[in-house]
């Protein structure tokens, strides 16, 4: 059957491209916040913090746009699911941006202190979450629920690394009170990465909802 809602379809396509654009900004913020830590680059950390305003502004614009489309176009079924999912996705992306800011702030504090230990598991954890964010955006673009489910499964790898980092840092604190500040900051930083992976899972659930109309729990 021929499409008779050209304007509406165009609005949906623009909304989708806005979500993907926001995703790319957040993906870059996460990668750069980790680079700021590993390379002890304070300027880069400050840049990530400053750029979060752009993410927040895009989030606001996309929410407004989604609301306007709902109010004026009265979408149902797949159209309604698409808009509701996008609204939720941008919320998750905005929070991921906040986690990138959290990592950058942690980097700023840690970079002024002697490095507690060589960073091994943290960059590995970051690598997985970054690739999850990248791939989930692909699943959103391709509306591929199978891919989304597979990406969500990788959350377990992140959780394993998080537990390991947590135990190691607690051990540092027990053994040497001088390490408490740095270990505590690293714990918060690891938690930021762990939460980003959780939010990827939430977006994966949105992709499944888009397809099936069923709200699923993938974690």
């Amino acid at each position: 059957m021929a499409t008779t809602r050209t304007l509406f379809d165009q609005e949906l396509a623009e909304l989708k491209s806005g979500v993907v654009r926001m995703g790319s900004m957040v993906e870059q913020a996460i990668a750069e916040s980790m680079r700021a830590l590993v390379d002890r680059n304070n300027a880069l950390a400050k840049e990530v913090i400053a750029r979060d305003q752009e993410v927040n502004e895009l989030h606001r614009q996309l929410r407004e746009r989604a609301f306007m489309i709902m109010a004026t176009q009265q979408p149902v079924a797949r159209d309604l699911r698409l808009i509701v999912s996008f609204q939720h996705m941008v919320l998750e992306l905005e929070r991921m941006g906040d986690h990138a800011v959290g990592i950058s702030r942690a980097a700023l504090r840690l970079n002024d202190l002697p490095q507690l230990k060589p960073y091994i598991d943290l960059p590995r954890m970051a690598e997985i979450t970054e690739s999850q964010v990248h791939e989930i955006l692909g699943a959103v673009i391709e509306a591929d629920q199978d891919k989304a489910r597979m990406i969500a499964e990788r959350d377990d790898e992140v959780d394993v690394l998080y537990r390991r980092i947590w135990q190691e840092l607690v051990q540092f604190m027990v053994n040497d009170p001088q390490t408490v500040e740095r270990a505590a900051i690293l714990l918060f930083l690891a938690k930021d990465l762990e939460r980003i992976a959780d939010r990827v899972t939430n977006i994966a659930e949105d992709v499944v909802f888009l397809h099936t109309g069923r709200i699923v729990e993938l974690s």
Partner: protein
């Protein structure tokens, strides 16, 4: 998400007993012809008692034709013919031995445009009971009850003997509904009952439907998909086939039809990508 304490025991949800489903009207493989032209093809629909069932679909898909078969309104159009079965409480209303007058008492109808008789408000509602030979006190009682059921009593109780034609469009439509209720029907058929009304009057009709469905079975034809989504429990989507005969494409709970339709043609229609 990491679960720090996995101490929650799995608790099975209590089993919900399956509510008994009562089918009031059961259309089975209905075909309908205007002369040689087939307007409906193999249409089936099981209408649950005390629920609202909506028929939606583009113009010409046979919704109104289907609705009018339920109380044999098509008999009034020469050259028409219906085959198949429409069971009302198990009795085939299409069979020649059906008492059509009694059928239309049991299955009342509300039309697109309010069509009050050019009589008083009271006489409009009393008309059916009067024909049925009810006593004056019975008629007085049923007039008041029907007007109350349609939320019209308070508005008209002091001018019952004034012309019904002086009422507003929304009031006239509710009066027609009261007229249908006065003969104690089981089923009410509504053919786009709010299409000529303003949004407030439309809302009143929709609220009334929610009240009435506690006692009556309602089948509504509507072009307004939002209305169907708002008021109905079940929705049937109809479409013309390649021979221009109407068919039921999908029928199910309204939630499913508007959220997760199974047929892509239903989805195209409800999302406005049809035509």
């Amino acid at each position: 998400m990491i679960a720090w304490a996995s101490m929650q025991a799995d608790v099975a949800a209590p089993a919900t007993p399956q509510a008994e489903i009562e089918i009031k009207l059961d259309a089975r493989h209905v075909n309908f012809f205007y002369g040689d032209f087939q307007a409906l093809q193999d249409a089936s629909l099981a209408v649950q008692a005390r629920k609202i069932t909506a028929l939606i679909g583009p113009s010409g898909c046979g919704k109104t034709t289907f609705l009018r078969i339920f109380n044999r309104m098509h008999d009034l159009t020469p050259g028409t013919r219906a085959t198949g079965e429409v069971l009302l409480d198990g009795h085939n209303v299409l069979s020649p031995d059906t008492d059509v007058i009694n059928l239309r008492r049991q299955v009342g109808m509300l039309f697109q445009r309010a069509n009050p008789f050019p009589k008083s408000i009271y006489d409009n509602v009393a008309y059916g009971p009067h024909i049925l030979g009810w006593s004056k006190p019975q008629i007085n009682e049923i007039v008041e009850e029907s007007l109350k059921d349609t939320a019209l009593w308070e508005e008209v109780k002091d001018r019952l003997h004034r012309s019904a034609l002086n009422l507003s469009g929304g009031q006239q439509q509710r009066l027609c509904l009261a007229r249908a209720l006065a003969v104690k029907p089981d089923v009410i058929l509504m053919d786009e009952p709010a299409s000529a009304l303003d949004p407030i009057a439309t809302l009143r009709i929709e609220e009334l439907m929610q009240e009435l469905k506690k006692r009556y079975t309602i089948v509504i034809v509507t072009h307004n998909m939002q209305q169907s989504a708002r008021v109905s429990d079940f929705t049937a989507f109809m479409l013309m086939n390649e021979r221009r005969a109407g068919e039921v494409i999908e029928f199910g709970p309204t939630d499913d039809i508007f959220n997760r339709p199974k047929d892509s043609r239903t989805e195209d229609y409800i999302t406005g990508r049809f035509g």
